[in-house]
């Protein structure tokens, strides 16, 4: 039982609009799982189904091996993309209320809030009203409220929006620490650089269907297309480039360093680099040789556009 959450052919329809079409997912325990997809792909619908805000028409969700039920609500923490707090309520009171709604006792909620408020250095906000806080400050409160009840599964929908880079980093570190403590995190975002940085697994949803999922490193390996960046030290333009062009598929090339360095990218027929390297041997000095691994962004764009 290594998956905290399994979705089995989940479908959901709103009127004539199909929001999810037989989407299956397996989210391993103790991982950060990126749920990606363009706007309107069905990510939010899927997340709402996991949170039991809405219910699927067909298919089933299993939480920790058992069919998803209302008792699981207290084991999930959800930070929605559309989020806010009661404007005229005091920070502490509001945090207590939301924590108690998640099933914490009042005294428990209080001591945990104190811990988190101290940790994020916002202890003196307790008696302020939300309308007196800036957007980023309110986001911090929301993050705390989401993680306070120590859920097994955390779902963050665009968690960094509204944060300045410093606070975004603080939150990112907190997310990583939560993962280290054993929490599983579903991470829905458009910001691909944070996907690269955080996610171990990803799933790509497009037009109501899951079109790709798995370990990010596996996906990258599958998507790499044997393109290599090569830098050669050469004496002069001695016809090496023409020679290479005749034998291999050179995508682009340029001379730098007053013609002493030839940089080019090459498309190899397979991931066996031996023939290419042995061809170069003796002809030039290989200054650098790197495989270009597609970024999550590239994969995202390529997959979505090819559909």
């Amino acid at each position: 039982m290594n998956n905290i959450l399994v979705a089995n052919e989940v479908s959901k329809q709103f009127g004539s609009h199909i929001a999810l079409n037989k989407v299956s997912l397996e989210i391993p325990k103790n991982s950060i799982y990126g749920l990606l997809g363009p706007n309107g792909a069905g990510k939010t619908t899927l997340i709402r189904i996991i949170n039991q805000i809405i219910y699927p028409d067909k298919g089933a969700i299993f939480f920790d091996g058992k069919p998803l039920q209302s008792q699981h609500i207290s084991m999930i923490g959800y930070l929605p993309e559309e989020r806010g707090l009661y404007k005229s309520m005091k920070v502490g009171e509001q945090a207590l209320y939301l924590a108690q709604l998640k099933g914490l006792s009042k005294s428990d909620a209080k001591s945990r809030l104190k811990y988190w408020f101290d940790r994020l250095e916002i202890g003196d906000w307790w008696n302020k009203k939300i309308q007196e806080l800036s957007k980023g400050m309110a986001q911090k409160i929301q993050f705390i409220v989401t993680v306070l009840h120590e859920p097994k599964l955390l779902i963050f929908d665009e968690p960094f929006s509204g944060f300045d880079p410093i606070n975004a980093n603080i939150i990112k570190d907190e997310i990583l620490q939560l993962r280290d403590k054993g929490t599983t995190i579903i991470f829905s975002t458009h910001r691909m650089e944070s996907v690269e940085e955080l996610c171990e697994y990803i799933a790509l949803v497009h037009k109501s269907e899951k079109i790709l999922d798995g370990k990010l490193s596996d996906i990258k390996r599958a998507y790499k297309n044997n393109i290599y960046k090569v830098g050669l030290g050469v004496q002069s333009a001695n016809g090496l480039l023409e020679d290479l062009k005749g034998k291999f598929e050179i995508l682009s090339s340029e001379y730098v360093d007053d013609g002493l360095q030839l940089n080019f990218t090459v498309q190899l027929p397979s991931d066996d680099t031996g023939p290419f390297l042995s061809h170069l041997a003796g002809k030039a000095n290989v200054n650098n040789f790197t495989e270009t691994i597609p970024s999550a962004n590239d994969i995202f764009i390529r997959t979505v556009q090819s559909k």
């Binding site: 805000i53 999930i76 707090l85 108690q100 929301q142």
Partner: protein, 445 residues
């Protein structure tokens, strides 16, 4: 603490701590009292003004008939013509001029008389003048018929028919109206409460949508729990407000008694005598006995039953309407979009009040009254107007009460179910002003 009670507590505190709520609670009784005082004061000013009317009497009659009263005084003109009299009236700023021409007999004098004034005269002034003429004419005609004034007065009578129910209880004229009025007060209270607190529920839902807290909350609780908690919490705040008003009314009453040194035992005497009245009624004087009978009748209104039914109809009616209000709040993004949906809710409430006052007062058990007291959207108000007449014989038939409450309960379940569906979908919809067709579609989601 269960989630529902948490929500109720929050909604209640959010409402009660609200500054405008606090201000309204303590200000509106003062405003009400102030308004009554103002109206009484203005009426007094209006009545206190003395109008002066000039009388140009050229006839041989009415020489002593026009005597000043509290609100009018008469100034008699002599030996000038009509135009001169009109001129001087205007110059002196008098209210008007009564011109009585010289004619051979009283009938002609009366028919040729005129009242001149700058503006159209007030009806009470005209009536006073007319009464003088009428009395005079009546006297003359009586004399012509050879009837003495004392004979005529002995003919005068103020007859009122005695009414009784078949079981022999004496019915008092006007008691139906009084009872309907008491019921009407209850009904009116329900309507006001629904409109005010339904509106609060709606605004509170809209607030949760606009602050975007809604999705945070419904990932912890079911939308239905949130809706129910909101409705209950808000109405408890309303009940608190009413309780404060009632208590402060009693306190003010107590202060009044102390300040004006009214003997409260005198007030209670009538009521405490009533149960033993049956035998003693014969000995009290005529007017006393009528008052006692009314008191007796009011005492006999089944107050306890009435209050119980008030609570039943109030709770059911309020829950039906406020869940509709909650659904409306969920469907829209801001308050300006609510108008198209609110009108259809207010309509049955207004209808109930008007039907109540125009039909139930006249005929508490007629077909219209019965129909509207069964129809679930109007029954909380209309049935309460009928109920002070009692249940069973002479009052509302038992089956009507039972059917009315059953229909109300069925409607309540149906409406809350529908409203919860609209609410559940609506709270997650942003940026679109929904039409009725959209709402229908949401029911199928």
């Amino acid at each position: 603490m269960s989630k529902l009670s948490l929500i109720i507590k929050r909604e209640y505190l959010a409402k009660v701590r609200n500054k405008s709520f606090v201000v309204m609670t303590f200000l509106s009784p003062i405003l009400m009292v102030g308004m009554v005082v103002l109206i009484v004061y203005l009426t007094k000013i209006n009545d206190g003004e003395i109008r002066t009317i000039g009388v140009l009497n050229e006839s041989n009659y009415f020489s002593t008939d026009f005597q000043g009263t509290e609100s009018t005084s008469f100034v008699k003109f002599r030996d000038i013509d009509l135009e001169a009299a009109k001129d001087s009236i205007q110059k002196m700023g008098f209210y008007g001029l009564l011109y009585i021409p010289n004619e051979p007999d009283l009938e002609q004098v009366a028919s040729r008389s005129y009242f001149y004034s700058k503006d159209a005269p007030g009806s009470s002034i005209v009536a006073n003048l007319e009464n003088v003429f009428k009395d005079r004419l009546r006297l003359q005609r009586l004399q012509e018929l050879g009837v003495s004034v004392s004979d005529f007065e002995s003919v005068e009578n103020n007859f009122e028919i005695n009414t009784s129910s078949f079981s022999g209880e004496q019915n008092l004229k006007g008691i139906t109206e009084i009872k309907a009025f008491i019921g009407g007060a209850f009904g009116y209270l329900i309507m006001m409460f629904i409109i005010i607190y339904g509106g609060f529920v709606m605004r509170s839902v809209i607030e949760e949508k606009t602050t975007r807290i809604i999705e945070v909350i419904i990932s912890s609780v079911k939308p239905f729990q949130l809706m129910l908690g909101k409705i209950i919490g808000t109405s408890l705040a309303g009940v608190t407000q009413f309780a404060i008003w009632i208590v402060s009314a009693f306190l003010m009453f107590g202060v009044l008694i102390l300040v004006f040194d009214i003997d409260p035992s005198g007030l209670n005497a009538g009521a405490s005598n009533t149960p033993g009245l049956v035998g003693g009624a014969a000995y009290v004087t005529a007017s006393d006995s009528a008052i006692q009978l009314y008191a007796n009748e009011l005492f006999r209104i089944p107050w306890l039953m009435l209050v119980c039914f008030f609570v039943i109809y109030f709770v059911l009616g309020y829950l039906i309407y406020s869940s509709i209000y909650a659904a409306i709040g969920a469907a829209v993004d801001n308050e300006t979009d609510t108008q198209q949906f609110i009108f259809p809710i207010i309509l049955p409430l207004m209808l109930a009040i008007y039907v109540g006052f125009f039909s139930v007062f006249n005929n508490p058990h007629g077909p219209i009254a019965v129909g509207f007291s069964l129809f679930p959207l109007t029954s909380p108000i209309v049935m309460l107007m009928r109920l002070p007449g009692g249940i069973g014989e002479g009052g509302v038939p038992i089956w009507e009460v039972v059917v009315s409450i059953l229909l109300l309960i069925i409607t309540f379940i149906g409406i809350v179910w529908l409203a919860a569906k609209i609410y559940r979908v609506g709270i997650l919809m942003y940026g679109k002003k929904p039409s009725y067709r959209d709402l229908l579609k949401w029911l199928k989601y």
